[in-house]
Amino acid sequence: MSSEQDRDIIICRCEDITEREVRECIRRHGLTTVDEVRKILRAGMGLCQGKTCSALVRRILAEETGKKAEDIGLPSARQPAKPVEFGIFLQEGDR
């Protein structure tokens, strides 16, 4: 994806995780899926839920494992689609 000197670029903006950290995590633990990187490094666990970084992590995984990006699954989507306040779910009187 990038040359050696560019590896401090931010991959996950919500959680402030760099390309270098993603690569090191993949190599250290022998990871092959976006879900594993997400659970260990928090990349994609922030407020945007990985809308931007999941595809980037997948491309890095493809490079590190020698697989095609499309053969590496994207992470399981979890609701809600956008952060929402607890108060929304309360009845009028409880708010």
Binding site: R28, I40, L47, Q49, R78, P83, F86, G87, F89, R95
Partner: protein, 380 residues
């Protein structure tokens, strides 16, 4: 290919047993995991660690586990976010206070530094709680929480360094048994692995794993839902559990709050879909106990399986009639916190045939010929 021990399940129980087997000198150990490390119940759980239990068996194991957790990061060379911020149990009725009083005496006898505290002290020390309906609370300062995914990975990595093979994305689909002995397992990609012993660490699928070996065990899967909030400034030290509203919550190192609600009417199924009903109930319960939560945002919800046993306590050890099958199953939602102790004792049992702490009360024999059981009540 032949191993001395094959473990089915790469959750916290399987990974920690693999590590302890290699640590105790077993040479060829393998874990078979149908997905990846912590993809099942471990990676979905609340992450609490407490020694405040209603049964002496659970208490003893939990105390031993906390001693091991205290040294674990150093032993495994991993920052698992283990945090001894304490654990607070809330009582809202006189019956609950009476039960807590009895439990505290038993727990103190088991070496747990726990005490019952009054509402004024709770209000002063934990101002985030609405104490208007509270009667009392039990607090243990050496309880706490941990990052489940990290501690699971830490055990798996350490087992691997010690020579264990961790087969990820490799489902065992058949167990070959000849009379009283298990000979081998066959994987979905049609490979056969012979084994000296087989260990069932199947979590939510423990009954299915046992069934492949022709063994019937009384464990059942039950969905438990959970969510996480946006990160907040640190406002709470202890994890909190409230059996009255069936909720628990903790603030992670990252700042977000993890919380779950255990629906007492949840059926026994493998369903792990998150529901809107959960968000509604959780919102109602958490804002009663922590009113400031009304303005806090939910970021993500999910669910995982408790592997329930008939008395909500784990089932450990061998089964009658099969010489080389072992199981560590039925943790009923508290496998993570018991794992360090259970894994060490299970490895002792497998390697030497005896254990340094008596766990025979937790063997499957306790259910023989019985239909009613003394239930561990301190479960959400």
């Amino acid at each position: 290919m032949k191993y001395d021990a094959i473990i089915i399940g790469g959750g916290i129980i399987g990974a920690s047993i693999a590590y302890n087997l290699t640590k105790q000198g077993m040479r060829s150990v393998a874990v078979f995991e149908k997905n990846y490390i912590s993809s099942g119940s471990t990676g979905r759980c609340g992450g609490g660690i407490r020694q405040q239990w209603a049964s002496p068996e659970n208490c003893k194991l939990a105390v031993k586990s906390v001693h091991l957790f205290e040294k674990l990061d150093q032993e495994l060379g991993f920052d698992t976010e283990y945090y001894q911020g304490g654990y607070l149990l809330l009582a809202f009725t006189d019956e609950e206070v009476e039960q807590f009083r009895k439990n505290v005496v038993m727990q103190q006898g088991a070496g747990v530094p726990v005490r019952l505290i009054g509402v004024d002290e709770v209000a002063a020390k934990f101002p985030f709680l609405d104490t208007s309906d509270l009667k009392a609370a039990a607090h243990c300062r050496t309880d706490g929480h941990i990052n489940p995914m990290l501690v699971n990975q830490a055990y798996a990595d350490a087992a691997k360094r010690n020579g264990a093979d961790i087969h990820l994305f490799t489902e065992v689909v058949r167990i070959v048994r000849d009379r009283d002995r298990i000979n081998s397992v066959i994987t979905a990609d049609v490979r056969t692995f012979e084994t000296g012993v087989l260990i069932n660490a199947g979590g939510g699928f423990s009954a299915e794993v046992a069934a492949m070996a022709g063994i019937t065990i009384p464990t059942r899967p039950q969905r438990h839902e959970i969510l996480i909030t946006e990160p907040l400034e640190k406002f709470m030290d202890p994890m909190v559990i409230d059996f009255h509203h069936h909720i628990y919550f903790r603030q992670t190192k990252h700042g977000s709050v993890v919380m779950g609600y255990g629906d007492p009417h949840e059926p026994y199924t493998h369903n792990i879909q998150g529901s809107l009903e959960f968000l509604k109930t959780m919102s109602l319960m958490i804002t009663k106990v922590v009113p400031a939560m009304k303005k806090v945002k939910i970021v993500r919800q999910w669910a995982g399986l408790y592997n329930m046993s008939p008395d909500a306590q784990p089932i450990l050890g061998k089964v009658p009639g099969v010489s080389n099958y072992y199981q560590a199953v039925g943790f009923s939602g508290h496998g993570l916190m018991l794992a360090p102790a259970v894994a060490e004792l299970m490895a002792e049992l497998i390697v030497t045939g005896r254990t340094s702490m008596d766990i025979s009360d937790l063997s499957i024999d306790r259910f023989a010929g019985r239909t009613e059981f003394k239930l561990e009540k301190a479960v959400v």
